[in-house]
Symmetry: C2
Subunit: 335 residues, 2 copies
């Protein structure tokens, strides 16, 4: 266990509403077989995804995030003016400058001046943002925070890569939280970053590293993943993360009533479930109808569990995931 | 004043150490006159900058951030293993995926697993990160946080644009904070986002909006600014921001012993100083030797004030700035 680890005090955090948005184009496994020139059944067998939504070139990541926010406001009957902070926690930005939160706010119909900023912890940014929101609400700086995550993985998918091209879906989700009365609270939070493996999963262009001035080609805009090596590195780190979270909180895995994982891949999720010893019935799995939506996966899975009435009351749920960086994060939330 | 505004409780926050790093290449105004084919004296007269540092194509934004972190650790005699969170608050990312914090951690010599994530509020991200760090430290989640900001504006400068090409400098800075005993504390924090004006100051490529798949040309990687319109929009918003901060904290401008502004431009800073009524003697101005270092400006100015022994003890200092987004932020810190 790293020297810096320490249990956190529990943090009040109440879930008010969730929402999601998907771009218009729904692609089934059969349609993807045709697009990629594969035999019938190939995509479903390889990816475990029946259908996912993919953006067309006109779709706008920030607009999708704003739609997810509107959905959450509507579902919760929440006045837009009561949102006093917007956190955008997508993995890929809208553009290099300014921050994506500004682009979302431009389409969000919140009062002029409403502050927004980005939190980025790659694919698990939603967990980090949720924990940060709890700390900010606890400090009294804000009263009601909307977290939005939107990713258009299709803008960076390499359709020639048999492994990564099949697993992604585009989408956005929003979660609105406030401090509440302390009945609902975070019991623990852990994030570990292992940058030694960051080249296993990346998009090299977009910032100062690869641009027209520092050398760049179109392939640098494509998502690159070394899936097998990534999985080998991640699996033991995930066990440590979960052990740390349980140790911090004094919980056992049996005490966790629902596990909401990052929807990384069919294989990745099933290996993780077995390795960590999580019962299938406790797992939120929306992968077959959404794919890996990058940072939007975790809040979308939370939203679907919420809609389905699966969020446990009075028992902790856990959010857990691993992503580019490598960044691993987990939290336990008494809902 | 927007409906969502509310004063915050004071938040304990102690400054432990600061550091900075600059890329190797120092360019004087005279050298820039030659590079741009301008008459002698042009650059200094137009920009007010005597010299700034510019990265060459081999320089690495994350490495520069890691150097600033090492400088802060050294200056403060702080063991690297005592840092339990790294926040990267640069305006422009290293690359589209993963987050910049992972790249900084890869070169930072902190213990394996040390968590890191990005906060992005464009040019004023340091203020937002400092406030967020205070909330996280207050919650007990972390004990000692390093905030790093590094920007290589030169990667996006349009050397053909007479206004924006002269004002930027590259660099990085780091600030290390902990909760402390409450003597040092944030007295107030405000952030306002006005996205209606976000197109006045932007880099359009780098994310999902302009990339090879959604349409892009090399010019989309260049920084675009409509300086005069930007200034006209920003000036009254800045007055509102400062008024809100003073109202929240019950302070008057006279109570603020030192003002550390974003080093936007020579003209911008002098107009702001006059409009807000800040005495020259209270202002930290490192613009002539650093230029506008985007998100690295604010922590570099804090570092220089710290080194010069100018940070007031027992009286509040203010950090204030405006940047792309438009994002405005200010805080009052009793040091």
């Amino acid at each position: 266990m790293p020297a810096h680890s320490s249990p956190i005090a529990t943090l009040p955090l109440a879930l008010l509403a969730t929402g999601k948005a998907l771009p218009g184009q729904r692609i089934t496994a059969t349609e993807l077989d045709l697009k990629l020139g594969r035999p019938a059944g190939y995509t479903l067998a390889q990816s475990g995804i029946q259908s996912r939504h993919l953006a067309d070139t006109q779709d706008d990541q920030a607009w999708l995030a704003a739609q997810a926010l509107q959905d959450a406001l509507r579902q919760g009957g929440i006045p837009p003016a009561s949102i006093d902070l917007l956190i955008s926690a997508s993995a890929i930005p809208v553009q290099a400058l300014p921050c994506s939160a500004a682009h979302v706010l431009a389409q969000a119909n919140l009062p002029a001046g409403t502050p927004g900023f980005d939190i980025n912890a790659s694919c698990v940014g939603f967990i980090t943002a949720l924990h940060t929101a709890a700390a900010l609400l606890g400090s009294g700086a804000y009263r009601r925070i909307a977290i939005v995550c939107a990713d258009l993985a299709s803008r960076g998918v390499n359709w020639q890569d048999p492994k990564s091209s099949l697993i992604f879906g585009d989408g956005a989700a929003c979660v609105i939280v406030e401090k509440g009365n302390g009945m609902q609270r975070l019991l623990g939070f852990r994030q570990h970053t292992h940058p030694r493996h960051s080249a296993l999963c990346e998009i090299r262009a977009g910032g100062t590293r690869r641009n027209p001035r520092s050398g760049m080609n179109d392939a640098d805009f494509l998502f690159q993943m070394q899936g097998t090596r990534l999985f080998r590195q991640t699996a033991p780190l995930m066990q440590t993360l979960l052990a740390d979270l349980l140790s911090d909180t004094g919980l056992t895995l049996d005490d966790i009533a629902l596990v909401i994982p990052h929807q990384a891949s069919h294989l990745g999720m099933s290996h993780m479930r077995e390795r960590l010893g999580i019962a299938s019935s406790k797992l939120v799995d929306i992968y077959a109808t959404h794919g890996n939506q990058v940072a939007a996966s975790l809040p979308t899975a939370l939203h679907e569990a919420h809609l389905a009435g699966r969020l446990p009351q009075g028992e902790p749920a856990a959010l857990i995931g691993t992503g580019a960086g490598l960044t691993l994060a987990a939290l336990a939330w008494l809902l």
